[in-house]
């Protein structure tokens, strides 16, 4: 999906920042800084630098952002995983920044190094069937075939994919956030990414022709239902049938 305006803003900011040393070289007077770039820097300093460093090269509390690129910044910020509010694995929550601020920060982080750009992805150009085949081959091992997520070691987890937006999915594939491996263009080309995105979006609202989905978690809720509802109802039936009335005559 295209978003021309934020790209324009981002490009201007990136250009401004790239030309900064040239523009400001040798001058002691107050420089004319485009307001968007300044705002982006301020956002970064306030929200990110304490862990990622003022120059984005990392501290002992957070990694360098040189290779993150716009894709990683967009992924982490738009899913609310960054800024971190706790020490464990970043988790999806409401984003701390609005869409415009995310654009600014994304561009700023992109300017810090040479990481991948936010991928443009149109799910409708992907193949649902191929997406399913690829998803089950590459993604289901961690995220489960139904996309409900899965456990990793030592408290980590692969998150459920129920709320993921198309660009977030594509960005995650290209960035390999956290424990997720990185899928570069040689392993998944753009068309395959679009297919996977299409399939993940399909899973989010997949039809359940058999009735209640039971959480998509397989045999565990199924066993629970079998015992509580199936066996429970049958037990109730046996108790009802076996109930005796008093005053029975001997015959």
């Amino acid at each position: 999906m295209r978003r021309p305006v934020p790209w324009a803003v981002g490009s201007v900011v990136a250009l401004a920042l790239a030309l900064w040393p040239v523009l400001g070289a040798g001058a002691q007077v107050r420089r004319q800084v485009p307001p968007a770039a300044e705002e982006a820097r301020q956002l970064f300093i306030t929200g990110c630098s304490s862990c990622h460093g003022l120059d984005g090269r990392g501290t002992d509390r957070g990694p360098t952002l040189e290779r993150s690129g716009a894709a990683a910044a967009f992924y982490y910020l738009s899913t609310g995983r960054m800024p971190l509010t706790a020490d464990d694995q970043p988790k999806r929550k409401d984003p701390a920044y609005g869409p415009e601020q995310i654009e600014l920060l994304t561009a700023y982080v992109a300017s810090l190094g040479d990481g991948p750009p936010v991928p443009e992805v149109d799910p409708s150009t992907g193949s649902l069937q191929e997406g399913g085949v690829l998803f089950r081959a590459q993604c289901a091992a961690c995220h489960s075939a139904a996309g409900i997520g899965g456990a990793l070691s030592y408290g980590g987890y692969a998150p459920p994919l129920t709320e993921a937006e198309p660009e977030q999915i594509a960005a995650a594939l290209r960035v390999g956030p956290g424990n997720m491996p990185l899928f570069g263009p040689e392993s998944l080309d753009d068309e395959e990414v679009a297919s996977i995105v299409r399939y993940v979006r399909y899973l989010q609202k997949a039809p359940t022709p058999g009735g209640g989905r039971l959480g998509g978690a397989g045999a565990i809720p199924e066993g629970f239902v079998a015992w509580v509802f199936g066996m429970g109802a049958c037990l109730a039936a046996t108790v009802w049938i076996g109930a005796k009335r008093a005053g029975r005559r001997r015959a």
Binding site: A141, G150, N179, F183, G184, S187, A251
Partner: protein, 290 residues
């Protein structure tokens, strides 16, 4: 029957009768409804509910009928002794022995009959042998061989530089992509200096290392690669393997490392196997060490 007093007011017989009528009528309606739903294309939830109602209606009707309108007199039956009377047992034993004596008096014939039946029984077992091949060396070998290229599911060969850092790729030996025991994980770490014993450094190609994808516990594909921690996690029983240290197990029930595959590069720069895995892949078996 007159209503009986008690803590709970019980339905009168008229109410019970009406309840049965209602249940059975509901059942009939549900049955007809089911026919309609089916004829008009079917829908799983409606089919299930209507079938259920038609069955439950009959069930409820029958139970109320039995409880309210059928005799519920208590009856008694004597238990006869289960064992037979001694004289019956004696008579049976005597009868049996008489016949046994008649048959068994010809010792040689009895022996030969036993021998014949025994041999026949043995022979009948042999077709079981035709069910499958002898285990042989199949469990000890895979489709990997020196010089064989490693290809992806799309049957394309791989160059080590094509794998991104923190990337993982599943590959098979070229020409043997259908062999279930040959699936292999190619992993690229940040730098080759990270590898430690017991990983064989001579078997890596720079920062790219290859291990069997099949867990050494019960053979599930070890599909979870935790890139940050360089751990391979098997989703079946949570066996965990350290990629940097020869994929040795660090948690879970697996007792052996994932066998490493010796890697090389051919003339065109594609990754090849330079031999088979360092040991039998997948789950263990009795004589695996031989």
């Amino acid at each position: 029957m007159t209503p009986e007093p008690g803590r709970h007011a019980r339905p009168s017989s008229r109410q019970a009768y009406l309840a049965i009528v209602a249940a059975l009528s509901l059942s009939i309606c549900a049955g007809l409804g089911l026919a309609v739903v089916y004829a008009t294309g079917g829908q799983a939830q409606l089919e299930g509910v209507l079938l259920s109602v038609s069955l439950l209606g009959i069930g409820v009707g029958l139970v109320i009928w039995a409880q309210r309108f059928l005799p519920d007199d208590e009856a008694e039956e004597a238990r006869k002794p289960l064992g037979s009377a001694p004289e019956d047992v004696a008579a049976f034993t005597a009868e049996l022995e008489r016949g046994e004596e008649a048959i068994g008096s010809r010792r040689l014939l009895v022996g030969l009959i036993m021998g014949g039946l025994g041999a026949l029984g043995l022979a009948l077992v042999f077709p079981i042998r035709s069910l499958g091949p002898r285990p042989g060396r199949g469990l000890f070998t895979t489709g990997m061989a020196p010089g064989r290229r490693l290809v992806t599911a799309e049957k394309e060969p791989v160059r080590p530089e094509d794998i991104p850092i923190d990337g993982v790729l599943t590959v098979w030996p070229e020409g043997h992509e259908d062999e279930a025991d040959s699936s292999t994980l190619l992993i690229r770490v940040e730098d080759e200096s990270l590898f430690t014993e017991p990983a064989r450094l001579e078997w890596t190609v720079g920062p790219v290392v290859a291990y069997s994808k099949l867990c050494t516990h019960t053979g599930c594909p070890v599909g979870l690669y935790q890139a940050e921690e360089h751990l391979l996690l098997c989703p079946c029983h949570q066996s965990t393997f350290e990629v940097l240290a020869g994929a040795r197990p660090v948690f879970g029930p697996a007792t052996r490392a994932l066998p490493q595959l010796p890697l090389g590069v051919d003339d065109e720069g594609f990754l090849v196997a330079t031999g088979d895995f360092e040991g039998p892949v997948s789950a263990g078996f009795w004589d695996r060490d031989r």
